[in-house]
């Protein structure tokens, strides 16, 4: 769907300007009327013009003042709204205004001549003179404000203040209009020879001239133009000068009839002329001269600025790049472009063995044989890296080591590429002419190589942080995976109830528990792999596999522990071991078999006797004794019968070793007390109360992994 053009927006814009233009024209109507009376009486050869009451001398001055000042602000506003800052464009606008003005003036001159002797001659003359005045005013003001834009380019306080002074003098000059002939005569009459107009000319004009001169020195905009633009500007300025001449010739003194006969006050002309044209003319001439003098040097500036632009662009592309190889390749290309090197290469230093590589992408207009021939003479790479500073050989023939080298190369520049920690390599630039690298070029090359070093370092840092992020992501996956290793739901029935609670402090922990039902026997395991973090977690996952595999075999508790020890001994590293409590709950025979392998004690509550029993007979932890000796150490499991109302509490050391602020441990004794107190409740309440009590004891949180498994016989 096509978008509707914003008509209303256009209308608003036009109305904004047309309102200003209408306002300007309305200030011009009284001038037209004044001129009409003037020309009417002049045609009738009256020596005195008789104006109606609304054109009394004071009111006439007011009309002129409104006309000048009003248009001053209107033109100022319109020019200020030009948003595009472009010298050529601004000068073009001025030219168009001037040519339109001059055309209008000449058009009315022709019409005026055509009406010679006609009764309509007086009004036509009045119209012509008024249009003439208006055209001159608009052109002068446009020039003033457009030049203001040029002068205040890169403005500073001094410039702005001078501008305000200029403006103030201009308005003061216009106040001259209010010195009516009657007043002037009165002043002259009373005090004899005080010549008011003379004071005006002798004080205001020099001041105005001085400020104009000062402001005219601000032509810095010309420095930013290239040769073509300067030529164009110069051409435009020449035409503008011609326009000034035309306007001056056509200046409508007649249209400024303040005095009954202004020709009696000849010097008045110069005041008005000065106010209108002094500054624009001076500035135009200055600009023109500056442009002419700058023309020959502009090619140098152009070249320099294009070089700077290239360097900046290259710097940006180097900075944005995240691939070290790409950065080096760009660096070589850019260095060749910036300097007048005829060839170059980069030697990349291998971090591991200190060796060097010059890959194809790092070679330009030189062969590896040539490089080797040079290196045989003197190993500059090592020297440059050691110094951390560039080496510049102006003439290889005059250099001791290279004097007899068979090479076309005469000048050579070697710059180190370094990160803050290590050298990356050395970039070489060569030329067949001696002394072909200028100091300025070297400075920009140094800054470019330094920038490349920083960029490479940044690229490496980004790569590292990506690796770290990947690692973190893998840990997150591991954590999810580990959560799945621990059973989510334990297989309870109406005769037995399980409840577990656990916590991992790190991303992943080393605690392990599982319950499997097989042939009406619950096989329960709870354990803890030594150490913390990832290693422990992976061993724990392995344990899960071993446990799952072994429970499938019809194996007694003792055989299970021996086999698990053998399995873990072969897969855990020398410093790791595992504690385990393994239990068979035979539902048919109502019998428990338990073996503790280095793990925490198991607490058993016997309902029939209302007593707690600690099951602590045990063997060393798994993978501690890795020889056959272990088998000899393992006796028979602890056996007992269970009945309804009995409780079994299995846990890991995170619970009883939790410390309070005084570094006291929660202890097995406290655990026993709590279990005894809650012996008649359910497994869930016991587990949750235990954890809450431990947290209350430590003052908030438990800093270790922990697991609790409560079994209640119903």
């Amino acid at each position: 769907m096509a978008r509707k053009p914003p008509y209303f927006a256009h209308l608003r814009l036009i109305s904004k300007y047309s309102l200003l233009v209408l306002l300007g024209i309305s200030t011009w109507i009284p001038i037209l009327v004044i001129n009409y009376y003037y020309w009417l009486f002049k045609d009738l050869n009256y020596s005195v013009v008789i104006f109606p009451w609304y054109l009394s001398p004071l009111l006439r001055s007011v009309y002129f003042a409104i006309f000048f000042v009003g248009n001053y602000f209107i033109v100022g506003q319109v020019v200020r709204r030009i948003e595009k800052w472009d010298v050529i464009d601004l000068l073009w606008k001025l030219l168009v205004i001037g040519i339109s003005g001059i055309s209008l003036i000449f058009l009315f001159n022709i019409i005026e001549e055509y009406y010679e002797g006609n009764p309509l001659h007086a009004p036509i003359q009045a119209l012509s003179a008024s249009v003439n005045l208006y055209a001159v005013l608009v052109f002068a003001l446009s020039t003033l404000f457009i030049y203001r834009k040029l002068i205040l380019y890169q403005k500073n306080k001094r410039k702005v203040i001078s501008w305000y002074v200029l403006q103030a003098v201009l308005l003061l000059g216009l106040a001259r209009l209010f010195i009516l002939p009657e007043t002037e005569m009165a002043i002259n009459g009373t005090s004899g020879n005080v010549d008011f107009a003379n004071i005006y000319i002798s004080v205001l004009l020099p001041l105005f001239f001085g400020i104009s001169l000062f402001l005219s020195a601000n032509v810095n905009w010309s420095a930013y133009l290239n040769f073509n633009q300067k030529l164009k500007s110069l051409f435009l300025i020449l035409i503008i000068v011609l326009l000034f001449v035309a306007f001056l010739v056509k200046f409508p003194f007649d249209a400024l009839p303040n005095a009954e006969d202004i020709f009696t006050l000849m010097r008045e002309r110069y005041v008005i002329l000065g106010l209108f044209f002094l500054f624009p003319v001076i500035y135009t001439l200055f600009s023109g001269l500056v442009l002419i003098f700058n023309l020959p040097t502009s090619s140098v500036f152009e070249q320099r600025s294009s070089e700077l632009a290239t360097i900046q662009r290259i710097n940006q592309s180097i900075q944005a790049n995240l691939d070290s190889e790409e950065i080096l390749r760009t660096l070589l290309d850019a260095s060749l472009l910036t300097s007048n090197a005829t060839g170059g290469w980069i030697e990349v230093i291998d971090e591991q063995d200190g060796g060097r590589a010059i890959g194809i992408p790092y070679l330009k207009n030189i062969t590896e044989e040539e490089i080797t021939r040079l290196r045989d003479r003197d190993d500059l790479t090592q020297e440059v890296i050691a110094r951390g500073k560039h080496i510049h050989i102006r003439n290889l023939r005059k250099q001791k080591n290279f004097r007899y080298a068979k090479t076309r190369i005469r000048s050579l520049l070697a710059l180190p590429i370094m990160t803050s920690k290590k050298p990356i390599g050395v970039i070489y630039l060569i030329n067949e002419l001696s002394g072909s690298f200028e100091e300025e070029t070297i400075i920009s090359l140094v800054s470019m190589t330094e920038q490349s070093g920083i960029s490479i370092e940044n690229a490496e840092l980004v790569a590292q942080s990506i690796d770290l992020e990947i690692y973190r992501e893998q840990l997150r996956v591991a954590k999810t995976f580990q959560k799945q290793i621990l059973p989510q739901e334990l297989p309870g029935t109406e005769r037995i109830e399980f409840f577990t609670l656990s916590q991992e402090v790190d991303e992943i922990g080393g605690d392990f528990y599982d319950v499997v039902l097989q042939d009406n026997t619950y096989k329960i395991a709870i354990g803890d792999v030594s150490g913390k973090g990832t290693t422990a977690a992976f061993y724990m996952a392995e344990t899960k596999g071993i446990f799952q595999a072994l429970t499938q075999l019809d194996m007694g508790v003792r055989d299970f522990v021996i086999t698990a020890n053998r399995a873990l001994s072969s897969c855990l590293d020398a410093k790791s071991f595992m504690t385990l409590t393994y239990v068979h709950v035979d539902m048919d025979r109502q019998e428990i078999e338990l073996m503790r392998a280095g793990h925490c004690q198991t607490l058993y509550y016997c309902n029939s006797t209302d007593t707690l029993k600690v099951m602590e007979e045990g063997v060393p932890g798994l993978a501690i004794v890795r020889s056959n000796r272990f088998e000899k150490m393992v006796g028979e499991p602890e056996r007992m019968r269970f009945s309804s109302g009995d409780l079994m509490v299995l846990f890991t050391d995170g619970i009883i070793e939790a410390k309070n602020i005084k570094r006291e441990e929660f202890s097995f004794e406290r655990l026993q007390e709590i279990v005894y107190r809650l012996r008649k409740t359910d497994s869930r309440l016991i587990a949750e109360t235990l954890v809450n009590q431990v947290k209350a004891f430590t003052g908030g949180r438990i800093e270790d992994d922990y697991s609790i498994l409560v079994v209640k016989f119903l």
Binding site: K532, A574, K575, F577, T579, A597, G618, I624
Partner: protein, 113 residues
């Protein structure tokens, strides 16, 4: 943690001060390895100033146990605080290493060799 090392005629004493946990276990590992490198296999671990030992700390001793025994030496632990002794007992280490009360008994242990 800090480890004070003292060499005697027939054995060396390593006295860990503070907590022997996952962070400081490497330090103990290095200390023991150095003793073995200098062919000292009778290692007395003085636990008088050991405040806490984690499973990682225990792992260090466990990992060298067999090596010392094969070379004809052994670990002797002395001056153990109750909580540390408790850990040794729970883990079943008590039956695998020698735990004695004080220095005098340590001397006796190694003299016995």
């Amino acid at each position: 943690m800090q480890i004070r090392e003292t060499r005697h005629d027939t054995y060396s004493t390593l006295a860990p001060v503070g907590d022997l946990d996952a962070n400081s276990s490497m330090q103990m590992d290095d200390a023991i390895q150095q003793q073995i490198d200098s062919e000292t296999y009778n290692l007395h671990i003085d636990c008088a100033e050991l405040e806490y030992i984690s499973s990682a700390g225990l792992g260090v001793f466990i990992s060298f146990m067999e090596e010392l025994e094969n070379a004809g030496g052994k670990f002797v632990f002395s001056n153990m605080a109750d909580n540390i002794l408790q850990v040794f007992k729970l883990l079943g280490l008590e039956s695998l290493v020698t735990v004695v009360n004080d220095r005098a008994e340590v001397e006796k242990e190694y003299l016995h060799e």
